[in-house]
Amino acid sequence: MSQVTVQLFASYAEAFGASHLKIALDPGSTVDDLVRCIRSLPAAGSLPASPRVAVNRKFASPDKLIGSGDEIALIPPVAGG
């Protein structure tokens, strides 16, 4: 059991009323496991089924393993340009 910090931005930060979440994960957890944890939170209703996740500033696939020192962020639909 380890705790990761998940950065939130824009509409997701607004939905959770916070700039980050602390999530407890079992060792060997993947991005998909993390997303399921987050989606079980009360404020997660407005999240899409598969929100994009960045690990160490790169978009990560659902099966990517999460390490204890990783920089993790939940990425709302981008709207730059």
Binding site: A73, V78, G81
Partner: protein, 146 residues
């Protein structure tokens, strides 16, 4: 020469054009995104952009690397502004220079298309009634056609 940046100040297209100007290039293609007063039929009074800045800078830099490899541009400068923007202001500038015109034009188009897909920057519209809303291009009707 390649330079990409997320900036919080006004973007100066003339300065970016000067940056890529060289006797070695024959074509400069520029794309500017500017703040419109209407979106999806709703009147917009202003915008703010926020970013996951470290990742946005990394993605912009990766896009520029890909563009250089793909189009062989002589130089490429990309700036995306974040923070509060007024109507008519420039939110993003892409300036690509090449010996010939076709790769310069295609490079600028590639960069703006990729920015819209994968640079973690978000736009919040401000409306006349004082309300604000984050733009979600995966839902908006008109924005998806952009």
């Amino acid at each position: 020469m390649k330079r990409t940046a997320v900036v919080t100040r006004v973007i100066n297209p003339a300065a970016l054009i000067a940056e890529v100007t060289s006797v070695e290039v024959g074509a400069i293609s520029v794309f500017l995104g500017t703040v419109r007063d209407t979106n999806d039929g709703r009147k917009v009074t202003g915008l703010d952009y926020s970013a996951y800045t470290s990742m946005a800078e990394s993605e912009l830099s990766g896009i520029a690397d890909e563009a250089e490899a793909r189009f062989g541009v002589h130089s490429l400068v990309v700036e995306h502004r974040v923070g509060e923007l007024s109507l008519g202001e420039v939110s993003v500038a892409i300036v690509a220079a090449h010996q010939h015109r076709e790769p310069a034009i295609e490079c600028a188009r590639f960069v703006i298309d990729e920015i819209k897909k994968r640079v973690p920057i978000w736009k919040r519209e401000h409306y006349a009634d004082g309300s604000r809303a984050w733009v979600d291009p995966t839902r908006a009707t008109e924005a998806t056609a952009l």
